[in-house]
Amino acid sequence: MAKPAITTASQVLELSAPLPLDGGQSLSGVRVAYETYGTLNADKSNALVIFHALTGDQCVASPHPITGKPGWWIRMVGPGLPIDTDRFFVICANVLGGCYGSTGPASSDGDGRPYAMRFPVITIRDMVRAQVAVLDALGIEQLHAVVGGSMGGMQALSFAANWPERTRAVLVIASTARHSAQNIAFHEVGRQAIMADPKWQGGDYYPSGKGPENGLAVARMAAHITYLSEEGMHEKFGRKLQDRTEKTFGFDADFQVESYLRHQGLSFTDRFDANSYLYITRAMDYFDLAEEHGGRLADAFRASKARFCLVSFDTDWLYPTSESRTIAHALNAAGAPVSFVELSAPFGHDSFLLDVPALDRVIQGFLSQ
């Protein structure tokens, strides 16, 4: 992806005031692209925000602006589905730093050139701050719920901790309250792959029309491994060969798993901006909710009156069950009403996006209250 920004049909809010950032700077002319589903009721009490994950977008239940594929959570969001758009007014915004219409490194810096690496380093809380601005603009004081998986879960937690009055329920799926050394390590591999690609050019690849596609593809391949379980990979690929009956004694993609990862990497470069990938993974690495609140995670939730529900998956080794348990214990210590469940699913971290009927029941039940 080397075009300055992906155009979407989403609504775009241009913030009138500069957005203050955790890094100390502020960003003016911030644009936030968002999608909505369902109808906002008269007293504006049925709104629900979904926060998307690292490489997600605001098109939860509408076709992807580039690939045309169905929305990423179409199995969960829609009329009569667990996140029921007949009942809720669902809002999903592209994160700050993203590349689907919200202000990010590919956006113009005001002098008519893309920010590239002059874009300020942002945090998860900065992303949430931009989304709160959307709620302000829509006149929504309090949400029925915030919902997020993976990085979306981090935003949901940050929202609950920093804007405690503004939601009645918080649903966090396959997420964590802080990035571990291992999480940071995998992200660093991805970032180094991008920055080692000569086409990255210190981030100023936009005018050339050619981005660091090889580096970005490698970053995606490494990350994609962390989204799957060993069991799931074995089941899907095993040691099966790709369109051949013998090994070639070369470095072509002999194995199906190699071919699959290469495809995942390459197709990702068509739909994601490499600099956005750098900035968003950095924001995730900086995330440590306890650190923001004096080192005690329970203190992050002292002011919250919301109900919480945490869901983990037994095969997720990226954000394993122990991370969700830690959050649940902190919420218990803070006296918050909290439920926690580890669901069994074979798909690793990606389970939250896939067919796990037990997840549907938990989400439907938790949100129906």
């Binding site: 109900r307 649940a328 214990h329 439920s339 469940v341 669901l343 037990a358 938990v362 039940g365 209250q369």
Partner: protein, 196 residues
């Protein structure tokens, strides 16, 4: 509202309105829902089976997936007015330690269990030399989750040894309540309310 299991009904009648309750091994949350809706109780639950947790969440209850043997340690002292352990004590690895934990996190504890000295159990052992399979103990010895069978007398002794107080006791034969007289062999099921 469907009728509660008889031992749960006894517990539900004797929990003070408006109190804070932890139901350990809460299953599908039937007792918690009754306590919340009927007695304005702030009820929290712990359940090992994820399907049970999902059922509870669907009822709007706050339930943590966890194991009575290990996860009570996560709760602070006296966090609850009552800790409840119904038909679960005999399935734990260390019932004595679980009892200690119940009375640490709760100021009082309800404990209910099937009485292994009920006359049908005694008869089965005496006449057949077989481990009993009864209405309350319906599963054969090799696959029952009940790994620490306990009698009313055993339980009283453990409570006395630990220096806990019995604040209330109820006995069931079938679904009917019976008095404490000869409960040691007439009761199929016992419910105790303990305090430190």
């Amino acid at each position: 509202m469907t009728a509660l299991r008889p031992d749960l009904a006894i517990i539900a009648e004797n929990v003070a309105a408006g109190s804070r309750v932890l139901d350990v091994g809460c299953g599908d949350g039937a007792l918690m829902a009754v306590l919340r809706d009927g007695r304005q109780v702030d009820a929290r639950g712990m359940e090992l089976d994820p399907h049970g947790v999902a059922e509870c969440v669907a009822k709007g209850l706050s339930v943590m997936q966890g194991d009575a043997d290990t996860d009570l340690a996560d709760y602070p002292d006296a966090a609850f007015d009552y800790a409840i352990l119904s038909q679960t004590l005999q399935t734990t690895k260390r019932p004595d330690m679980v009892l200690d934990e119940l009375l640490r996190v709760g100021r009082k504890a309800f404990v209910s269990f099937p009485n292994f000295a009920h006359w049908k159990v005694r008869a089965s052992l005496l006449w057949n030399g077989r481990m009993p399979v009864t209405r309350l103990l319906p599963i054969a010895w090799y696959e029952t989750p009940n790994i620490h069978h306990v009698t009313v007398r055993d339980f009283r002794l453990l409570v006395a040894d630990k220096g806990y107080r019995v604040e209330g006791e109820w006995f069931l034969s079938g679904d009917k309540r019976i008095g404490p007289a000869a409960a040691a062999w007439r009761a199929e099921h016992a419910v105790f309310l303990l305090s430190r």
